[in-house]
């Protein structure tokens, strides 16, 4: 029943980025790429799924990005980045051989040790699949530790689906139930159309609510409706984990930019149980 800790990252000075070189770049969608970063020294920044790094484009700025690759690969990081502003646009434009600064890992990750012996229900919306991919890769590497594993993934359109190769591989695994839906599509799409919380009703028989750990990441409205669907079916609030996104700056719980009620998302999150978030979840503009 061990949870990932929010321990400060290793290294003498957590404000100083470690240089990593871009060793691979995979375009996911029109505005999103997955960067593979390699440490020239071969040393870690070992992370736990759900934790995030601060990625620094030299001379431009720094943004928090969740780790999306398999953990425990010494010296290799994967981050999926969508171009939405000046820093992320530069990150998306990086090419093999370019340098990027990395600080981290920061925060608390997904409770994968807690979930051992439980059904695992992963609910992802849009780019929210990125931190959950990291968790799923670890779960699949230790598949016998978990009961039924179900993944529900919603995207804006078929063109916005991330990790297509992974999705196709996961679809074929007999030990994984995967459902994918999109909000809109044309007539060439043969899959589901609708929002991801609605998929929960379809997979009810795949999880036992009281013995289910739900891992949820996506836009906050999507998470809100997902939590309601899970609660309706009896999944306890302390077994529903959400990954929150806020304005992380120092990533060390000092600057206060990412404060959410009494918590700092960078340090106490980004992954938190809904039981802890519930008292603040109805406060608007928080």
């Amino acid at each position: 029943m061990r949870e990932p800790t929010g321990a400060p990252p290793p290294g003498a000075n957590p404000y100083i980025p470690v240089p990593f070189r871009v060793s691979g770049r995979r375009r996911e969608t029109a505005d999103t790429v997955t960067l593979r970063l390699r440490s020239p020294s071969g040393d870690g920044l070992p992370f736990e799924p759900g934790q995030f790094m601060m990625l620094y484009v030299f001379g431009v700025g720094e943004v928090p990005v969740s780790a999306s690759g398999a953990p425990r690969r010494a010296g290799i990081l994967e981050h999926t980045v969508r171009a939405v502003g000046p820093v992320t646009r530069r990150l998306v434009a990086l090419r093999r051989g370019d340098w990027v600064g990395v600080r981290g890992p920061f925060g608390r990750g997904w409770p994968l040790a807690l979930a051992e012996g439980f059904d695992v229900l992963i609910v992802a919306g849009g780019l929210g699949l990125a931190p959950l991919r990291s968790a799923l890769l670890q779960i699949l590497a230790q598949r016998d530790r978990y009961r039924q594993v179900t993944v529900l993934y919603g995207a804006r359109s078929p063109a916005d689906l991330l990790y297509r190769l992974d999705l196709s591989r996961w679809q074929q695994r007999p030990d994984l139930e995967l459902r994918v839906t999109v909000d809109r599509a044309d007539e060439r799409w043969r899959g589901q159309i609708g929002v991801v919380p609605a998929l929960i009703a379809q997979v009810e028989r795949h999880f036992e609510p009281a013995r289910t750990v739900a891992l949820v990441c996506g836009p906050e409205v999507m998470m809100r409706f997902t939590v309601r669907e899970l609660q309706k079916r009896g999944v306890p609030d302390d077994l529903i984990y959400l990954s929150l996104e806020r304005n992380m700056k120092c990533a060390l719980g000092l600057c206060g930019h990412c404060q959410f009620g009494p918590a700092f998302i960078c340090k106490d999150g980004p992954v938190m149980p809904f039981s802890r978030l519930a008292p603040f979840s109805e406060i608007r503009e928080l």
Binding site: D31, V63, R82, A83, V84, G85, P86, V87, T88, G125, G126, L127, G154, A155, R156, D160, T181, D183, R184, A185, D186, E187, W189, R190, G191, Q192, I193, G194, V195, P197, A198, A201, Q202, G218, P219, V221, M222, F225, E245, N247
Partner: protein
């Protein structure tokens, strides 16, 4: 499922499973089993709405045909849910198309006989309409969330 009778399917279908055996037997008398191949239409916009579909297996696309653009899928319905409520509402014409995306099995209930049954047995009518209202509310909620375009790019802070 093709080897089962409508009565047997109604006993396990989420829409009807918790109705009494007697209620289900009344519904089964108005029901037939239908199988649709991919791209078969269950129902088409503008045509008389004469049936209520309980989807057993498969996937159905609710869509609208836009001249010059072709069919525009709006939502899909999986096995375990229901399609079509226009049979309850005058003038009982379908407002959208419903097309099978996969091989789909449905229990098809006769709309006119259902309406008559509901007049005869108002309690059964209320129980079925209550379930249908749940389906309509879920479909409406999903449509509202779809309108929000939740996965659009966020603002970088």
């Amino acid at each position: 499922m093709s080897g089962h009778t409508p009565a047997e399917i109604l006993a396990s279908h989420p829409f009807t499973a918790d109705l009494s055996e007697e209620d289900r037997a009344q519904l089964a008398r108005l029901a037939r089993l239908a199988v649709y191949d991919p791209d078969d239409y269950l129902l088409r916009e503008g045509q008389p709405a004469t049936a209520f579909y309980l989807i057993v297996e498969g996937l159905v696309s609710i869509e609208l045909f836009i001249p010059g653009h072709g069919p525009r899928p709006l939502q899909t319905v999986e096995g375990g849910s229901a399609v079509g409520w226009s049979w309850m509402l005058a003038p009982s014409r379908w407002e959208f198309d419903a097309r099978a995306l996969e091989r789909t099995t449905a229990v098809v209930l006769d709309g006119e006989r259902l309406r008559d049954l509901f007049i005869e047995d108002c309690c059964l009518g209320l129980r079925v309409v209550h379930r249908l209202l749940f389906v309509v509310a879920e479909r409406l909620k999903a449509a509202r969330l779809q309108l929000l375009d939740l996965y659009g790019p966020p603002r970088e802070l």
